[in-house]
Symmetry: D2
Subunit: 102 residues, 4 copies
Amino acid sequence: MNVIIDLCVVPLGVGVSVSSHVAACQRVIETSGLEHRLHAYGTNIEGPWDEVMAVVKRCHEVVHEMGAPRITTTLKLGTRTDRDQHMDDKVSSVERLLDRGE
Amino acid sequence: MNVIIDLCVVPLGVGVSVSSHVAACQRVIETSGLEHRLHAYGTNIEGPWDEVMAVVKRCHEVVHEMGAPRITTTLKLGTRTDRDQHMDDKVSSVERLLDRGE
Amino acid sequence: MNVIIDLCVVPLGVGVSVSSHVAACQRVIETSGLEHRLHAYGTNIEGPWDEVMAVVKRCHEVVHEMGAPRITTTLKLGTRTDRDQHMDDKVSSVERLLDRGE
Amino acid sequence: MNVIIDLCVVPLGVGVSVSSHVAACQRVIETSGLEHRLHAYGTNIEGPWDEVMAVVKRCHEVVHEMGAPRITTTLKLGTRTDRDQHMDDKVSSVERLLDRGE
């Protein structure tokens, strides 16, 4: 079962700036080799369920190891059995409709 | 690592009513033996990370087996290393402040 | 247009404990007179769209006034045009299925 | 009060494909003139709170007008009072750390 997720990890108790923690998560994601894309409010990741979820868990572990005593994460998870779908397909199918004025 | 999550599984392509799918997820959660509580827009579950995440995966599998070709789930995940915290603590610490008029 | 939301306001830069900020949001919600219910990872609120959204905005304003320099909120919003639905209906329709063993 | 949001509108009761509804929301967003960026699991939008929230409401109205009897939306909302921040800043501050190997 493949999954496309949108991951937003928020450390608490580390002050206002969280970019170093987000960067640490990005390195976890890059190390995984999974397809991913950073945006302004999270990161899209796609791949086999267990691999993707291992990344999410590793992000929590790494952010705690950096000293964050508390983390609250928001995650969206999409799966489908009717056909394969990739992150790029989702964006391009919407853009195609917009280009055609539909 | 313990986690408190808020799980909201939304099947697509099965019509407007999704209560039978939500009920199926509730049975998955109950079978797990994990502490949980249903509310109007999701279910709080707490326990060890891997057990809780196995429940989330099983919910996706079960809802697909029921015929839903597509699922989009929203998940919040909270972990902390500074102290133990349970779902009831979170609610009661807020209620205590409200009672004291703070 | 009526809406049922699930609101989770997270202040950043105020330390690990956020219960006083959550309690302040609860008071904003109670003052609004809207139907609501606190759970372990947010608060369900229902009512007319503009009234509910005014509460969400007021929560951000109040939490900033308490000194939080940054807030990240997670919100789920449900609307439907096919019929009226209330928070209690959502919970009880699932519980009815569970009781019937469906 | 400026806000950066991540908006994901999910119509129910319209079948498996939701790209035409997402495209309709994109047109609402483009008409607003607000800064925005589509990704694989939502759209980032930034601007003054009331303008951004008017777009979210208009999306619900338009998707219902297209025939969707039910909508469930996931929204993240970020505000800060310590300094101005834009969507691009959030991405580039993380990328800068990654480039520096921090």
